[in-house]
Amino acid sequence: MKTAKKDTKAPAKAPKAAAKPKVAFFDFASCEGCQLQMTNLGELLLDILGAVDVVEFREAISEKWDKDYDVVFIEGSIGDHHAEERLKKIRARAKVLIAYGACACTGGVNGMKNGFELDEIRQSVYGKDYKLFDSTPTRAIDQVVKVDYYINGCPVYPPEIIEVVKHALRGLPYTVPDNPVCSECKLNENVCMYERGVACLGPWTKAGCNSWCVNNGNICYGCRGEVKNPAKNAAKDVISKYNLKPELITKKFEMYNKCKEGAK
């Protein structure tokens, strides 16, 4: 919005573009599917690449970068001490950090680990020598370092990636919608999953995905995390209206929302 400040004598051709922001991608405990979503953006990816310089992205390029980053995307959650140290080092070199995907934002499916005794789960994974393998309860990225932006979802929803990138590049805060998924689902005129006799986590899960799963015939699994002020009492009414067992809902919730504390 700045006006050209009296340098009318400057040549008509566009001034040399300022250096494009240096962007890097890193992954921790995750399936790396959210990074894949980035490469799946198609034409939009070209637009993003026009606006930024990707300097590190293990899944897509082999280059490395040894200076500071303008923006880093962090996929995955933190599940051992090594990861914690590595994340802190990345944070120290990054101006802006984006928690990218459910694992990074809320702990995601990795949070299910927190439903067990740590040693018990280590033993079942690593066998009798489990003590040799470092492991901590799952933490979301913001339980370890400061997070500037959240892109929720498992996987992330492409239009939201673009929105957050645009906000990050302009230094504007991005607000994750805090209304239930129903608010978007209704606009898509999906037949409510409850009317089909299926429990769906839409009424408690943060919107912002344009009810992507329900549009495609699936229920909402709650991958974007619970809304800040969920209607606790209402769950009873929802369940009784549709003759469903409460466990159906609570069990489903544990898939993505076990690592609660860090839900953002």
Partner: protein, 277 residues
């Protein structure tokens, strides 16, 4: 795609001709519209469009008697206002408005005036105070009471010094928390009211401040027998459209007021049945 030439969503273009950080959280802007004066009345507000970021309702803090440009004082509170603080001289804005019902200046003519401003409330009130100053002989006795958290939070300090010096205005202020070089009153703004002489038959009390302040100040004014219809407030809501449609600024009151259209200025008589002021 058709162009709508008479759309009420069209923006006037305003350029910031001066800007100044007033306190840690408040910034002042002087804005010149390319198509002439804003042509507002005291107490009205504008919608400020920060292209690509969004629109924020801001009350005009300058008097319409000031021509050529208008002023806004913006507290960095939300996403938009925070962004607005990054703007300065030369930057362009989109402007819609002025909107809203102004202070009842005509009714006030010939009466005594008691202004009570708390915190940022001085911004909308300043549009009226300066109007009254510029038309001083039209009004009776003028008292200005100002309250803020600490001396460094005080807005328009230079102007306040002028008000203090004027013999045709009684000015007093108070701070919630004192500072070493502060020689004035310490305490809530309500503590200043008992000291003011009011002729309830011909006085208008104009009160602008944070929602929490209204209840206590109004109680004090009622104690002074000031009639409800002579207590004028300016209420805060999030006006998103300014046209009485979007619903955000609607007040929980049996009369269904839209703050942007039926307000933001109301008499206490009009809004006393509101669930929240």
């Amino acid at each position: 795609m058709t162009e709508i030439h008479n759309s009420n969503w069209k923006l006037r273009k305003g350029q910031i001709i001066a800007a100044k950080q007033m306190t840690a959280t408040e910034k002042w802007f002087d804005i010149k519209l390319e198509d002439g004066d804003l042509d507002h009345e005291p107490g009205q507000f504008v919608q400020v469009e920060l292209y690509g970021v969004g629109e924020a309702p801001i009350s005009v803090c300058s008097s319409p008697t000031k021509r050529g440009s208008f002023e806004l004082t913006v507290r960095s509170a939300g996403r938009l206002t925070k962004h607005m603080h990054s703007l300065g001289k030369g930057d362009w804005l989109g402007i819609r408005g002025p909107f809203g019902k102004p202070f009842p200046v005509k009714l006030m003519t010939g009466n005594d005036l008691l202004f009570v401003a708390g915190g940022l409330g001085i911004a909308p009130l300043r549009s009226l105070i300066n109007y009254v100053m510029d038309n001083r002989r039209e009004f009776g006795k003028v008292d200005i009471l100002l309250g803020c958290k600490t001396p460094t939070d005080m807005l328009f300090g230079d102007e306040i010094k002028l008000w203090q010096k004027r013999m045709d205005v009684n000015f007093s202020c108070t701070v919630d928390r004192s500072a070493p070089d502060w020689k004035g009153n310490v305490g809530l703004i309500t503590s200043l009211i008992p000291g003011v002489t009011i002729n309830p038959e011909k006085t208008f009390g104009v009160v602008v401040g944070p929602p929490i302040m209204y209840k206590f100040v109004i109680a004090e004014l009622l104690k002074k027998n000031l009639p409800e219809k002579q207590i004028v407030l300016s209420l805060e809501r999030h006006m998103k459209c300014g046209m009485g449609k979007c619903g955000h600024c609607q007040i929980d009151h049996p009369k269904n007021y839209y703050c942007c259209k039926d307000g933001p200025t109301f008499t206490y008589e009009e809004v006393k049945d509101s669930k929240k002021l």
